[in-house]
Point group: C2
């Protein structure tokens, strides 16, 4: 490996984390390198930077493309493929979220739905189904939220994050006002 020390540290760390993440070490390292690189890189530059085989780089890039995490670039008059991570880190976040959902959540959701269609054949299965229903409900709440929020432009998304739990304070205030109004008018629930 032949990189400036700071970049090398980052690349190595990403490689380590890669394995906690469902991607392998090399893929993590390649991505880290592309991420901190001001220019797109071609495969041989990655080979040189990371000190791994050409074919391994090829497979790694292929996987990153499957995740939509790198863009292919071309330099006029150069036949080689160049690769770059998106400049916009929010876009990277969106892609990551989308791809992880696709791989880690959607298959489970479809299995749950399928199992919930079945007629339980025993008390054990009946109970299991009730648990699956809870799980299905929770995942649907989360994915509905995600599907809704992901459509926001980045500025609004950042605002929403900044608000965090304060949102509920607003709601509490609204609730108090509404129930106060009801009380004055003498209608509504106790």
């Amino acid at each position: 490996m032949n990189l400036p020390p700071l970049i090398q540290s980052f690349v190595l760390h990403f490689g380590e984390m890669g394995s906690r993440w469902g991607i392998n070490r090399t893929v993590g390292q390649i991505y880290a390198l592309l991420y901190v690189s001001p220019e797109p890189l071609c495969a041989d530059q990655i080979v040189e930077g990371l000190g791994i085989s050409r074919s391994n780089v090829s497979m790694g890039l292929r996987e990153l493309q499957a995740w939509n995490l790198v863009a292919l670039r071309h330099i006029p008059g150069d036949r080689r493929d160049f690769f770059a991570a998106p400049d916009d880190i929010w876009q990277i976040l969106r892609t990551l979220a989308e791809e992880r959902k696709k791989r880690e959540v959607d298959p489970t959701l479809s299995v749950l739905r399928e199992l919930l269609m079945q007629q339980p054949g025993s008390e054990e299965e009946r109970f299991a189904q009730s648990r699956l229903m809870e799980m299905n409900g929770l995942i649907e709440q989360l994915t509905n939220w995600y599907d809704d929020v992901k459509r926001l432009d980045t500025e609004r998304l950042a605002t929403l994050l900044g608000l965090g739990s304060k949102v509920t304070k607003l709601l509490d205030a609204k609730d108090r006002i509404v129930s106060l109004g009801r009380k004055r008018r003498g209608d509504g629930q106790p």
Copy 2:
């Protein structure tokens, strides 16, 4: 494996997904089995249900305990350990989020901070640091949001999820009103 068909399908699916998830197949299966079980189970019941070795079950349970995903239970007059998944699925979600953050995010955050303290030794490193700064900023925004939101009780959390992007509509309305007020009074920015 010796389970009712519906439960077996669920257990097998969870096992498969486990590997996309940083936990191994067996651990996924054990958890799935505990999750759909109305009563706590002891290790031998898991051995029988899943058809794997006793020691493998022991290691799996140990790992689930490290993740705080199972609770140890005791039955009076019985020396064996019994294990159960929490009843409350929201609690499971919270635990998962917390543990994944601890394993997948926090280490990166601390590496980023450390690397950002260093003096860049070249133009390449200077650029890399600017990228790391973006990444650090994004992760901090996300973890701040998470730290804030996780304190909400479940009911409010569910409400927040249900609102989703609608929150920003409220904010937009507020902004319009505020700027309208400014315009009438003739002060404020254009």
